[in-house]
């Protein structure tokens, strides 16, 4: 299951998507909205995605995992829209016969998700300012003025 959703993520959905009678190890990752970024108070977050491409890229990450670890039970779900502090933005589940592979594959899934899945996050600070989160702080420090 590879899904962009505007619904609350409970975690049950990804877990059930990977469950199998021969896979004894299930590793889950949840990313939740923190109350601060580098010490600055966050009020809430907004996530935007390019859904069809995001789901396609999630499926590609799953194929990479199948090649590297022989694991074919991977599920990823990412929420979009407004998220409050403590809410789950992303959930990844991996089921495998052995836990070492499961931990490695789940971590790999998250690393790749941040690299290639088109999802953006906008922080709305407690002081009311907003900012698109950038992987490298040098870019988009200021928006160029529109002509």
């Amino acid at each position: 299951m590879f899904k962009i959703t505007s619904d609350v993520i409970t975690g049950e959905e990804v877990r059930e998507a990977v469950e199998a009678p021969d896979a004894g190890a299930v590793v889950l990752f949840f990313g939740t909205v923190r109350n601060n970024t580098d010490g600055r108070a966050v009020s809430f977050l907004e996530y935007e995605a390019y859904p069809p491409m995001a789901e396609k890229k999630m499926a590609e990450i799953s194929e990479e995992i199948a090649k590297k670890w022989g694991i074919d039970r991977v599920a990823m779900i990412h929420r979009v829209g407004k998220l409050e502090i403590g809410e789950v933005s992303v959930a990844v589940a991996v089921a495998s016969p052995h836990r070492k592979d499961g931990f490695e594959a789940c971590q790999y899934a998250m690393n790749r998700l941040k690299q290639i899945v088109p999802i953006w996050k906008r922080e709305v600070w407690a002081d009311g300012e907003t900012e698109w989160v950038k992987p490298d702080a040098v870019f988009f420090e200021e928006l160029p003025e529109k002509k």
């Binding site: 990313g31 995605a49 491409m53 998700l113 953006w120 906008r122 490298d136 988009f140 529109k146």
Partner: protein, 84 residues
């Protein structure tokens, strides 16, 4: 030919629209779209080097050739929705 161009996040904000249809010449590539956006807004060129483009949900280069009905997108740096 006609293609759809999509703008996300900071691009959406900069251009003040999330998508549009563009009428392009038959030999158009992704670069043709980028040049056209620069005419409207020269400073956008500074961001091209940190941005990626996609054609039909696949990462593309400036040289990727376009066809009728393609869906092109400007992809600002992605964060995967988490910084933890």
């Amino acid at each position: 030919m006609k293609v759809t161009v999509k703008y996300f996040a900071v691009c959406h904000e900069m251009l003040n629209r999330s998508e549009e249809e563009m009428e392009l010449p038959e030999d158009a590539t992704v670069r043709t779209i980028l040049k056209r956006l620069e005419e409207e807004w020269p400073e956008i060129a500074e961001f091209y080097e940190v941005m990626q483009m996609s054609v039909n949900w696949e990462y593309a280069t400036e040289d990727t050739e376009l066809s009728e009905g393609d869906e092109v997108a400007l992809i600002p740096p992605v964060t995967g929705g988490t910084d933890v």
